[in-house]
C-alpha cells in the first residue's frame, strides 16, 4: 500500500511537494519583505530589527529557521527541476509548428518560464545570502553597532553601501521582476496543485495571485531604488568617496 514516501517518487507527489513548498516560501518572502521595509525607516529601526531577530530564543530561532529555509528552497528547487526535466523525456520529438490553444488555457509567459525564473532566483538567493549574511565581497569593514548594550552587526550600512552601486540596483531590479513573473503563475498554480482550486474560487485565487506577485515585486524593488536615490553611502565606503 502507498505511504508518504510516494510523495517523492511519483509525478503527482513531486508536484504536491513543489506546490506546498512554494506556498510556504510565499509566506517567507512576505515576512522577509515586511522586515526589510524597515530599511526605508532608517538605520536605528533596521539594525534593531536585525538584532531582535538574532536574539530571539537566545539566538536559537534564526539558525533553526535557516535550516528550515534551506530545506524549503532545496525541496522546491529539486521538485521544480524534476517537473521541467520530465518534458524532455516525455516529448523528445517536438512539433514542427506549435501554437497556443487559447480559450480557457492558462499558459502564459510566466507559466512557460517557471524553470528559467526559478533557476535565476535560486542562484540569486545563494548570492544574496553570501552578500549580506556572510559579507562576501563587502565594500569595507563594518564595525559592530551597540544595541541595548550588545554588539550587533551593522547590516544597515552594508545594505546601503551596496545599493548605492548602480549595477547592483540594476541586478536586483531584474531579479525581482523575475520573482514577480514566477509568482504570477506560481501562486495560483500552488492552489491548483494542492487541489485547493475550484470553479467558485478560481477567479479569486488568480486575482489574489496577480496582486501578490505585483506587491512582492514592487515591494522588493522599492528598497534598492529608494536607497540608490535617497540614501547616501556610509562614510568610509569606497562609494562614498565619489
Amino acid at each position: 500500500m502507498a505511504g508518504l514516501t510516494d510523495i517523492t517518487r511519483s509525478t503527482v507527489g513531486k508536484k504536491l511537494l513543489n506546490g506546498l513548498t512554494g506556498l510556504l516560501l510565499c509566506g517567507f518572502i512576505v515576512s522577509h519583505l515586511t522586515g526589510n521595509l524597515l530599511l526605508l525607516v532608517g538605520r536605528e529601526a533596521f539594525n534593531q530589527y536585525a538584532y531582535f531577530l538574532h536574539s530571539l530564543g537566545h539566538g536559537a530561532v534564526v539558525p533553526i529557521m535557516e535550516v528550515g529555509l534551506v530545506m524549503l528552497f532545496g525541496a522546491h528547487a529539486i521538485s521544480g527541476i524534476s517537473v521541467a526535466r520530465s518534458r524532455r523525456r516525455a516529448r523528445p520529438d517536438g512539433y514542427k509548428k506549435s501554437a497556443n490553444a487559447g480559450g480557457t488555457s492558462r499558459k502564459s509567459l510566466a507559466s512557460r518560464s517557471m524553470i528559467v525564473t526559478g533557476t535565476v532566483l535560486l542562484i540569486f538567493v545563494i548570492l544574496h545570502v553570501a552578500q549580506f549574511k556572510l559579507g562576501w565581497g563587502q565594500l569595507r569593514d563594518y564595525p559592530d553597532v551597540m544595541i541595548d548594550g550588545h554588539a550587533s552587526v551593522d547590516l544597515y550600512s552594508r545594505v546601503v553601501d551596496w545599493f548605492n552601486w548602480a549595477p547592483m540596483v540594476g541586478l536586483y531590479v531584474v531579479v525581482m521582476l523575475m520573482l514577480g513573473n514566477h509568482l504570477r503563475h506560481g501562486f495560483w498554480s500552488a492552489f491548483q496543485t494542492l487541489g485547493a482550486n475550484n470553479p467558485r474560487y478560481e477567479n479569486l485565487i488568480n486575482t489574489a495571485g496577480m496582486l501578490f506577485a505585483a506587491a512582492m515585486a514592487v515591494g522588493f524593488l522599492l528598497i534598492p531604488i529608494y536607497i540608490f536615490l535617497f540614501v547616501e553611502p556610509t562614510a568610509g565606503s569606497s562609494l562614498a568617496a565619489g
Binding site: M1, T11, R89, K96, A101, S105, T193
Partner: protein, 250 residues
C-alpha cells in the same frame, strides 16, 4: 458546383514506419468545398495520391461525429484544430481560407510512438485504465434507484469527467506531454460516486503509477489540455486527482 471551391496547401507528416525517419511532405488540394470536413478533404487527397501511385496518408478516424475519440491530428500546431470543444473530425474546411497552408502532424509523445504517418499507438492509455479504471463489483440487474443515494452535483460532476473519450489530445497539447487530464478524468468519474469510493485510494495510486511508468511528463498547470479537449474536461479534475492522491498516501 456552387463555385465556392478553393485551394489549400498541405504540409503533412509522412513517416513510413515506427523506426523510419519522417518529414513534412507538401501537397496542394484544389476544389476544396467549405462544407467538407478536414478528414473528407484528406480522403480526397488519398484518392488523388492513390491514382498517382503514391502511398496514401495514414490517419485514424472512426465515427466522424466527435464521440468516439479515434481521430486526432495536430492542425496548425493545435491538437484537434482551431475550434474549442471539438474533435478533429468536426473541423470543417470553412475554417481555412483560400491558399492557406495547413500543417498536419501526429500527436507527439514518447509514450505514443508513431505507427505510420499520422497514426500513433495510444495503448499507453489502455494500460493506465487497466491499472485501476474500473469498479470491482459483480454486475447484475440494475439496483433499485433509491438504494444508493447520490447527490445531484456529484452525479453531474462524475458524468462530466466520464465524458472523456480518451482521444489523447490533452497529452498532445501539453507542453510536457503529461497525461494528467486523462488520468484525472478517469479517477474523478469513480471517486465521486459511492460505488467508486470503496477502491478510491488504491485506484489513484495505481493509475498514477501506471501513468508515470508509461513515461508521460509531469503537469505544469498550463491548462492547454482543457482548452483542446473535445469534451471540455476541466483541469479541476487534476486538482481532484491530487487531493485523492494525498488522501491515499497520508
Amino acid at each position: 458546383m456552387a463555385g465556392n471551391e478553393f485551394s489549400v496547401k498541405l504540409l503533412i507528416w509522412r513517416q513510413s514506419g515506427p523506426a523510419q525517419p519522417g518529414e513534412l511532405a507538401s501537397y496542394t488540394m484544389d476544389n476544396v468545398l467549405p462544407e467538407m470536413s478536414l478528414l473528407e478533404m484528406l480522403d480526397l487527397l488519398n484518392e488523388k495520391l492513390t491514382a498517382e501511385g503514391i502511398d496514401p496518408v495514414a490517419f485514424d478516424s472512426d465515427c466522424r461525429e466527435g464521440i468516439c475519440g479515434t481521430c486526432g491530428l495536430v492542425i496548425n500546431g493545435i491538437a484537434h484544430g482551431p475550434h474549442s470543444g471539438a474533435a478533429t473530425c468536426e473541423v470543417r474546411m470553412r475554417s481555412f481560407s483560400d491558399g492557406e497552408t495547413i500543417v498536419i502532424e501526429p500527436f507527439r509523445a514518447a509514450s505514443f510512438p508513431v505507427i505510420k504517418d499520422l497514426v500513433v499507438d495510444r495503448a499507453a492509455f489502455d494500460r493506465i485504465m487497466q491499472a485501476g479504471g474500473y469498479v470491482s463489483i459483480n454486475t447484475g440487474s440494475a439496483p433499485e434507484a433509491n438504494s444508493i443515494p447520490v447527490p445531484r452535483p456529484h452525479a453531474e460532476s462524475a458524468m462530466d469527467a466520464a465524458a472523456c473519450i480518451g482521444c489523447a489530445a490533452c497529452v498532445a497539447a501539453c507542453p510536457n506531454a503529461s497525461a494528467s487530464l486523462f488520468t484525472s478524468a478517469k479517477i474523478s468519474q469513480y471517486a465521486q460516486l459511492p460505488q467508486g469510493r470503496a477502491e478510491a485510494k488504491r485506484r489513484v495510486v495505481r493509475m498514477v503509477d501506471a501513468m508515470d511508468e508509461e513515461g508521460f511528463g509531469n503537469c505544469s498547470n498550463h491548462g492547454e489540455c482543457e482548452a483542446v479537449c473535445p469534451k471540455e474536461i476541466s483541469i479541476f479534475n487534476i486538482g481532484r486527482m491530487r487531493r485523492e492522491y494525498l488522501k491515499a498516501v497520508l
